[in-house]
């Protein structure tokens, strides 16, 4: 009788642990992959403004270049701080690689003065790019 109970204990413990570990790793990898999709391009310190009437973004052009402008006027491209000179170089390279019709996405903080954006826009026009888009939140507030 007591032996039988012992056997049942054994059966209980047979829930596959290696499979469980597999699931844990799978979950970790899934979340890591889905979380870091746009992180590199987008600056966390930029607080976008609202534009409830803009068209929703369905597909993003993979060639597009994103320029972040913080409230104090500092610019970042893919996570690194950039001055006007480096921005111009990045844009020149992008235009050289994939043509002058690539969209330039400006993610500017809502409180940044337009004078800072003007400098970036001048750098864009200097590299003969012309498709400029301002990113905003489609949030009705």
């Amino acid at each position: 009788m007591s032996r039988k109970r012992k056997q049942r204990d054994d059966e209980d413990a047979d829930v596959p642990i290696s499979a469980m570990i597999d699931v844990v790793f799978l979950l970790i990898i899934f979340f890591v992959v889905t979380a870091s999709m746009d992180k590199e391009i987008q600056d966390e310190n930029v607080h976008l403004t609202n534009a409830p009437h803009g068209k929703p973004v369905k597909t993003k052009d993979p060639r597009s270049v994103t320029i972040n402008i913080r409230a104090d006027g500092t610019c970042t491209i893919s996570g690194s701080k950039s001055d006007m000179h480096t921005i111009e170089n990045v844009l020149k390279n992008a235009a050289h690689e994939s043509g002058v019709d690539i969209p330039i996405i400006i993610r500017a903080d809502k409180a940044v003065l337009h004078g800072h954006i003007k400098k970036v826009m001048e750098a864009i026009t200097a590299t003969s790019l012309y498709r400029v888009k301002f990113q905003a939140l489609k949030d009705d507030r």
Partner: protein, 159 residues
């Protein structure tokens, strides 16, 4: 003897703590759910830039100029009062008045070009508000021009 010992070892092996493993799984799940940002829908407002070295557009009677300039230097750049005043063809208007005018214009000619003349001391929010207004009434030919006549004062943004 050997058989008995092996059996005990098997039982010990199977005692890897399952319930704590499940705890870890749930902990991870909850951690990732909590840390994940809510999905916010984003929008892109496009506009045209003047060609490099191009001359400023000549004044035509059909040209529509919406001026986005800093009105109140002593208020914060994103103050609601500051964001509410625009100049449409050099006439001072509130946001609602501009909206009415643009709606009337868009109804007669949706291809009307709007030149958005943005001053350097205006907040970006104000420019986006103007672009959003044009998108709302259905005007698509938008040109953003930088107002060169006004001096840029970076200290105005820190208020």
């Amino acid at each position: 003897m050997a058989k008995k010992q092996r059996k005990r070892m098997q039982v010990e092996e199977a005692e890897v703590p399952l319930s704590s493993m499940i705890d870890v799984v749930f902990l991870l799940l909850i951690y990732f759910i909590v840390t994940q940002k809510p999905i916010v829908e984003e929008t892109l407002l496009s506009c045209d830039l003047p060609s490099p070295g191009g001359k400023p557009p000549k004044e035509k009677p059909t040209l529509l100029t919406l001026e986005v300039i800093r009105m109140h230097r002593n208020l914060a750049p994103t103050d609601p009062k500051e964001l509410n005043t625009f100049y449409l063809n050099q006439i001072k208007m509130t946001y609602d008045q501009v909206k009415q005018q643009l709606q009337a214009i868009a109804a007669s000619d949706p291809k009307q070009t709007v030149i958005i003349n943005c001053g350097p001391n205006a907040a970006h929010q104000k420019l986006v508000k103007a672009l959003d207004l044009c998108a709302e009434v259905g005007l698509k030919n938008l040109n953003v021009v930088n107002d060169e006549s006004l001096p840029f004062d970076p200290s105005l943004g820190k208020r």
